[in-house]
Amino acid sequence: MDMVSMGLLAAMGALATVAGASEDLESDVGSQSNPNSQVQLAAQVGHPHRIYNKAISGEPPSNALYAALAAVTASVLMSGYGMNAFFAIAIGAVVAAIFNGIFSVTAYMGRNTSQARFNQYVYLDVLRTHTTAIMAHAYITAFCVVSISYIMTAPWLPIQHPFPFPLVALIWGLAIGAIGSSTGDVHYGGEREFQNYIFGAGLNAANSGDIVTKAEAGLRSSIDNVWFCARFGGPVTGMAFGLTVFLDNWRTTIFDPATQGWYAVLTGIVIVILFIVYNRILEIRARKRYGPYPEYKGDIEA
């Protein structure tokens, strides 16, 4: 362990935290991934809306695309044209953001058009105002993820991962998408879309599709949604990705994998056990705080 490795590790953790937050917010502006099913359902149960409906596959493949594209572009610029890494990655992220915009627009148009029988219009002003916000978040995500991948693979830095640079970006893109759709999106899908129901009630299956389409004044837009999710869902997603990147690399930074590989493995196992214990504490505290549901009358059929 030396100071340079430790500093790089800290930088990776910080970049990952920012990337996680912006990834989640990107999917919240666009209603991507699983909460999208409710946006999709809303029109069918009689609630047409002005919420962005961006179904670009699941988040993992789409974020893998942005990260891989940014990394490939950066790699071409660096090795083909000798460009400085910082600018190359920035330009790569711009290309990724443009692709993100194209995919978002086609998904919004396609999904809403396929709901013609439910009177769901295609609003061009929604496209104009939201797509840029989505692209901006995608830019930050792609930039951070590709920077992490570059730090891991650059030949002049200490980590020197054997995988090619775009491949590392692809894998981190998949991971960040999986994390974003598992964590922050729940805040959007479970709470923001259904704010008209009591806090903590979960979503009764009978209420599926009954999403909030009206705002304090006027109609709710996806910018309102991201405003809400930026308070909790986004930052904790950043926390999750930051933890993943940091803890995973921390083990091999403090213990030299060449001589102390087993220590690194053991540290990892200890971390996992701590996670399980912490989850149990969390579970107990939540149950104590909230108590059983008042409607509970005997066992419910699953």
Binding site: N36, S37, Q40, L41, A43, Q44, V45, G46, P48, H49, R50, A55, I56, S57, G58, P60, P61, S62, A64, L65, A68, L69, A71, V72, S75, V76, S79, G80, V95, F99, I102, F103, T106, A107, M109, G110, R111, N112, T113, S114, Q115, A116, R117, F118, N119, Q120, Y121, V122, Y123, L124, F163, P164, F165, P166, L167, V168, L170, G173, T213, L219
Partner: protein, 267 residues
């Protein structure tokens, strides 16, 4: 996804699409190879990309057919699986087959897809009648996309060149993921009760062109500035078909509004 309903009936027959997809894909790959070899340049690499677009259309149609059944895991997984099967088969074909590699790879991938479809229907009991046939098509499409874009980046059908230019540089990452998105995105983006086949397939062409553009970007380093031809061709194809897609959106949707409130009454 809870709603997995494909809408309108297929206007274009699946066998016809398969013929175009396979034929166009193989033709594109070989034309690119032969013309590049004969002229000693890499100007014709873009032809492989055009072949890939044909295969993407075929794959998108197969995705459309199988996902109309509601496979329970969402659309993306099947696109990833297509590329997973295609990847191993394509590299196997290229590795042992030399110039005949693409055909071997595509055949192996299709056979493997058919077999996996058979197993999922028989043992896992998916009971989706089109499973075998669509996984076969998807396997073929995945292999063509990988080989075609690989040839686009390296300029020739040669295993060593492809390993050096595509794998070791990591550019396969963009081929893999852009290719799978091109196959799965068209249906996923147009999913809904009023989905129409022509709109999905037009969208597939533009998504294929995006994959071609992204790969063209990578080929700037490997085959040099000739790669810009691929990018320009892809951009033109994308522009033309995006406009046509937008026309179809206007045709099919309840209304394309500049702005406005919600429609009266909803349902």
């Amino acid at each position: 996804m809870s709603v997995a309903a494909g809408g309108g009936a297929a206007k274009i027959d699946k066998t016809k699409l398969m013929m175009y997809g396979l034929g166009g894909g193989v033709l594109g790959i070989y034309l690119a190879h032969v013309l590049n070899e004969v002229t000693g340049t890499t100007y014709f690499s873009f032809l492989a990309g055009l072949g890939v677009i044909a295969a993407v259309v075929m794959g998108a149609d197969a995705t459309r057919r199988v996902c109309s059944y509601g496979i329970g895991t969402g659309v993306p997984s099947i696109g990833l699986m297509a590329m997973g099967m295609g990847l191993v088969a394509a590299m196997f074909g290229l590795s042992i087959g030399g110039v005949a590699g693409p055909i071997i790879g595509i055949a192996v991938s299709m056979g493997f897809g058919y077999f996996v479809g058979l197993l999922t229907n028989r043992i896992i009991k998916m009971n989706i009648p089109v499973m075998e046939e669509t996984l076969m098509t998807l396997g073929g499409a995945g292999a063509i996309v990988l080989i075609g874009l690989g040839v686009m980046v390296s300029g020739v059908i040669d295993y060593r060149t492809i390993i050096g230019n595509v794998i070791d540089t990591g550019y396969i990452a963009i081929i893999f993921i852009a290719g799978s998105l091109a196959i799965l995105h068209p249906f996923n983006a147009n999913l809904g009760p009023d989905e129409t086949q022509d709109r999905t397939l037009i969208h597939a062409v533009s998504a294929g062109a995006l994959a071609m553009f992204a790969t063209g970007l990578a080929s700037l380093e490997t085959i040099g500035s000739e790669g810009i031809i691929s990018m320009i061709v892809a951009a033109i194809v994308w522009l033309v078909f995006f406009r046509r897609f937008f026309e179809l959106v206007k045709r099919d949707s309840a209304g394309v509004k500049g702005t406005g409130l919600l429609p009266e009454g909803g349902l």
